[in-house]
């Protein structure tokens, strides 16, 4: 049984403290920033289930996010369906889309960069479809009328939105924890480490991967719903564009892929970094993103296991691996 290192206690404790402080003492500035980061974090958790645990790197998680957002928006605006019901339908739809993409890709044995590219292509197809038809608002996107109220899934008070999004993040992380401790999770990790061997051990790798993607789809769809109800607007480039897909995978990889906390840690740090960079070089558009890119590279170079990996190495836990000599 693994124990938690001192560094991890500090890291997770700090994050919990921040998130809880914001819950009881809302600051508008930090709320706006954190809600945005947490929505991306939900999608990152979704990505992490398949990409972090299962080793199947998707470059098109926007397909799931966008499906969630679009289905809610369309049901709500076009047919006046209650937003809560629409949310459930959206999550089901995103799960179905995930299942379809996964079944098709894995049936034909796509993996590695091929899988990455095919998911990217599916997201692009959805983007084009969404912007081509009247029912999805065409190029104009869909604007959800602002009518605050619990029944409408919209809240004038952003603390409530925040609490809801935070709740979703916690649920998503609990699902990750459950997966990690389950036999299903063990199968996934086995597939990541060596798919052939996993198959030889009698694991139904196809079924496992498809299920993981569907679970990922459900969570990713929820992220889309949360986005829509927060910003009340969706269009094809936001929903299915590559920006969202990239954000989905940056969090887990920076934070620590295949860990429960990695996606949340990574997303919060990246967003914090982006915000800081914006203030450091305010008035010079682009330079903040340059700085962001540089820091991203430095993290890749010096923190190969992500932030969570770094935290694990801080403080006593087990035999200190610092004695490990230079390899290469």
């Amino acid at each position: 049984m693994k124990t938690t290192s001192f560094g991890e206690w500090v890291l997770y404790g700090g994050i919990c403290a921040y998130l809880l402080t914001l819950l009881v003492m809302p600051s508008q500035l930090w709320l706006g920033f954190t809600i945005n980061a947490l929505i991306v974090a939900i999608l990152s958790v979704a990505w992490n289930l398949l990409g972090g645990f299962g080793g199947q790197m998707s470059f098109g998680h926007a397909a799931l996010f966008g499906t969630g957002a679009y289905v809610t928006a369309m049901l709500q605006v076009r047919w006046g369906i209650n937003p809560w019901l629409a949310a459930v339908a959206a999550i089901v739809a995103a799960t179905a889309v995930a299942g379809f993409i996964a079944a098709l890709s894995f049936r034909y044995g796509l993996r590695g960069s091929y899988f990455a590219l095919v998911t990217l292509a599916f997201a692009e197809v959805l983007r084009i479809l969404a912007s081509s038809f009247e029912i999805s608002g065409g190029g104009q996107g869909i604007l959800v009328p602002y009518k605050a109220g619990l029944a409408n899934f919209q809240f004038a008070d952003r603390s409530t939105t925040y609490a809801l999004v935070l709740f979703l993040v916690v649920v998503a992380m609990l699902i990750t924890l459950a997966v990690q401790r389950s036999r299903f999770g063990a199968y996934l990790i086995a597939i990541r480490e060596n798919e052939e061997a996993a198959k030889a051990l009698g694991i139904d790798t196809f079924r496992t991967k498809v299920l993981a993607m569907m679970l990922s789809g459900a969570i990713g769809g929820a992220a889309g719903v949360a986005y829509l109800q927060t910003y009340l607007f969706i269009d094809a480039p936001i929903a299915f564009g590559s920006t969202m897909s990239i954000e989905a995978l940056l969090g887990p990889i920076i934070g620590g892929a295949g860990t429960v906390w990695g996606p949340l840690v990574g997303t919060l740090i990246i967003h914090g970094l982006g915000e800081t960079a914006k203030h450091l070089v305010s008035g010079a558009p682009g330079l903040n993103l340059v700085l962001y890119g540089v820091v991203l590279m430095v993290i890749l170079r010096y923190l190969p296991d992500g932030i969570v990996g770094l935290a694990r190495r801080i403080g006593p836990r087990r035999a200190a691996p610092t004695a490990m000599p230079e390899d290469r």
Partner: protein
Amino acid sequence: MLEVNGIKAGYGPVNVLQGISMTIGDGEIVAVLGSNGVGKSTLNNVISGIIKPREGTVRFDTVDITGASPRAVVDAGILQVPEGRRIFPNLSVKENLELGAYRRARERMAVNFERMCTIFPRLRERLGQLAGTLSGGEQQMLAIGRGLMAEPRLLILDEPSLGLSPLMVEEMFNLVQRISQEGLAILLVEQNVVQSLAIASRAYVLEQGRFALEGPSGDMLADPRLRKTYLGL
């Protein structure tokens, strides 16, 4: 000509080799024997410059090549024919051979190419074919041929008999002996104890990162410990 002294090396926190010393003389066939996972390939890779040792030295012709790059080791004249052959499957047989002379003996490539065709007549028939389509034995021939193209002074053969039919194994060992008769020193790393000892002048037995036995092949064959452990006698 090759002097290995007190090598410790490994991956991660584990030392696979725990202090290895050996020598190879000019034109000599020396065998390193041992079962799977005792560190034979690690030793090869240390000599070839792929793994940097944590302790110890490797000298070749009295020049210190410890921790040199694989290219520098090739330049010095040591060629490894690795386990699993590592030929280039998407290149033709001819191109594979030509790449053998990538760094050494480039100016004599044509001559050596002819020589390889003579030594391995079966490769000559398949020059235009993609290397990946050859049989296992042919691939091993090609791997050795590729190594010889560089006119090495020391050839390291890592498990050349692995995965070959008994007939092919026989042919392989004959070949190794023939090559060495032209004055080439050979380090033969094998699990196949009997046939290796038959052609090697001296042998080392590697067990758990250390040499358990060493000496002339004849003495080794007679050693009761070896007979018991490796020959089941």
